[in-house]
């Protein structure tokens, strides 16, 4: 199921490197060609588009190749509130998500480890949201929460946190599941208080899960535009960079603007991730 992607603590059998160029080429060629064609080339295309200028005569959506680097400056100047808002929302959403997901991951990975049936039920409950359309679920909050809360910073962050709880719980659970209980016992045998054991043993050992959980939440959150859009939990005052990219691409057809905002979003995320991963000391994770 979905969580096998995160709970991959399988035993690794040492495998001797094998030769066989033709087989490797045969195995890789189709998939890699596909990724070059539909992932790498579009990325390059995005950069090219971000530097384009409007065509002579100015038909809507008509742009020609150019090296207009000022597009970036113009995009940032016009939309910095939305860019900033995206990252503030994603940051708050990730921190809140981490705080509320950790106890649940701890319950499933440590407390009920000796009861496989209960552990199985709890895991199913955590992945249950994956089986039902996330748009319908998000829309549900509009019915459940009071109407006057809608369209605020609060409702958008509330929705973002909600959407990404499983992405936070599952990796942390996977880390905690492989935690050696004897280490915790050793800690308390040495007269550490439960709080100290948690801070000095449990938390550091679950860091790989925390790092992948925060990345799995933060990246999609900062690009999300469903929660913040008006027909869902947001309003004009809560527009995120994703909303701007969507409306400029699909409605106004201002392609260079949408493209340069996409690149800005990507670059900021990359810088933040590198800084975060360096600080948390889990470089080998990437």
């Amino acid at each position: 199921m979905a969580f096998t992607a995160f709970a991959a603590n399988t035993e690794v059998v040492e495998q001797a490197p094998k030769k066989g160029r033709w087989i490797v080429l045969l195995l890789l060629a189709p998939g890699i060609m596909y990724m070059l064609l539909f992932f790498v080339t579009p990325f390059i295309q995005l950069i090219i588009t971000s530097l384009q200028v409007p065509a002579e005569g100015q038909g809507i959506g008509d742009y020609v190749a150019a090296l207009q680097f000022t597009n970036y400056w113009a995009a940032i100047q016009e939309y910095w509130p939305q860019i900033l808002r995206s990252f503030v929302y994603a940051l708050i959403g990730t921190v809140v998500g981490l705080l509320i997901s950790y106890p649940l991951a701890y319950l499933i990975g440590v407390r009920v480890r000796s009861k496989p049936m209960l552990q199985g039920i709890l895991l199913i409950l955590v992945i249950a949201p994956f089986f039902i359309s996330f748009l319908l679920r998000t829309l549900s909050w509009k019915q459940i929460l009071p109407t006057e809360w809608m369209g605020t910073d609060f409702s958008v962050v509330f929705g973002l946190v909600y959407n990404f709880i499983p992405f936070m719980v599952l990796p942390i659970f996977a880390s905690l599941q492989s935690l050696d209980m004897r280490l915790l016992e050793a800690g308390s045998d040495l007269y550490a208080s439960p709080a100290t054991v948690f801070r000095k043993v449990t938390l550091p050992l679950s860091m790989p899960g925390v790092v992948s959980g925060t990345l799995l939440s933060f990246i999609p959150m900062s690009g999300d535009y469903v929660n913040a859009s008006r027909q869902f939990l947001g309003s004009i005052d809560t527009a995120m960079v994703g909303n701007v990219i969507e409306s400029n691409f699909l409605q106004t057809q201002n392609y260079p603007l949408a493209a340069s905002l996409s690149i800005v979003l990507m670059v900021v995320i990359l810088v933040l991730i590198i800084a975060y991963v360096r600080r948390s000391g889990t470089e080998d994770l990437l």
């Binding site: 094998k18 189709p30 579009p42 319908l136 999300d224 996409s262």
Partner: protein, 267 residues
């Protein structure tokens, strides 16, 4: 066991609250599938009815969108699973140049916001003059599903003992026989898991689809478009059916897994 756990009651109580937060909207979706129709309104509770369940395709477009999602999900899952499995085998089993570059190439889509992936691909189709539709949605979905398939299948390949294949070769099995009678069957649980994940991701994808679908509607896109005026209760019915079906499937898999563990433990 008692001493080292942080605040005994805190963990279960907090967990229950988080679980309610997580599951409340699901309950809400199911409840509103039984809501009586008043105009287009499925926002307020009007009363209980079975009409929506008896007349699932009653709302215009909803079943077309739903079957489009199934088509997209099945086709992209099949292609992505085949391509991803081949890559996963190559990455674990063989040493070659650019191996880490290829790993990075496959990891990057998972670390890119969907809106960037969707927009980039949409420009690509625009410049190539490809008309958007069911085909472009499928091409887009295969792209992001491959990465997830590789991650899941790689874990399975890594846990496999190559000695079993060697034994097959020693017994004069041809490379084709080794692959189809030993490698593939042992990888099957991983491949099935990857395919289910891939289908779930494809079926529920909205952002990338929205950029690459043109006039064609999928189930999530239908909901997004309908959201402004009120999503018909039939959408709740279809979502509830998928939910119950998937849940049953997972429960069966879990029960079988736990039973197998018990059997192995008792031996």
């Amino acid at each position: 066991m008692k001493k080292w756990s942080l605040g005994r009651a805190f963990v279960p109580v907090a967990s229950i609250i988080v679980l309610i937060y997580l599951l409340l909207p699901i309950v809400n979706v199911i409840i509103f599938s039984f809501n009586e129709k008043r105009g287009r309104n499925n926002i307020k509770w009007n009363g209980f009815t079975l009409d929506n369940w008896q007349n699932i395709c009653g709302a215009p477009e909803v079943c077309t969108a739903f079957s489009n999602s199934i088509i997209v999900g099945v086709v992209s899952t099949v292609v992505a699973t085949v391509l991803g499995t081949l890559i996963a085998i190559a990455l674990v089993r063989y040493r070659f140049r650019f191996r880490s570059t290829i790993s990075l190439l496959l990891f990057t889509p998972m670390a890119t916001p969907e809106v960037v992936l969707g927009a980039g691909l949409a420009y690509q189709f625009l410049t190539m003059g490809v008309e958007k539709g069911l085909g472009t949605i499928i091409l887009a979905h295969i792209m992001f599903c491959i990465s997830y398939v590789v991650v899941v299948v790689k874990a399975r390949v890594a846990s496999l003992d190559p000695a079993i294949e060697e034994a097959g070769r020693d017994l004069y099995a041809s490379p084709g026989q080794v692959f189809f009678r030993i490698t593939l069957p042992t990888l099957m649980p991983g491949i099935i898991g990857a395919a289910l994940l891939s289908f779930a991701l494809s079926f529920d994808d909205f952002i990338i689809t929205n950029f690459n679908s043109g006039a064609v509607s999928t189930f999530p896109k239908f909901i997004y478009t309908a959201a402004a005026k009120g999503v018909p209760a039939q959408a709740n019915v279809l979502a509830s059916i998928v939910f119950v079906g998937a849940l049953l499937l997972v429960i069966i898999v879990q029960v079988v897994r736990i039973n197998n563990q018990k059997r192995l433990a008792s031996k």
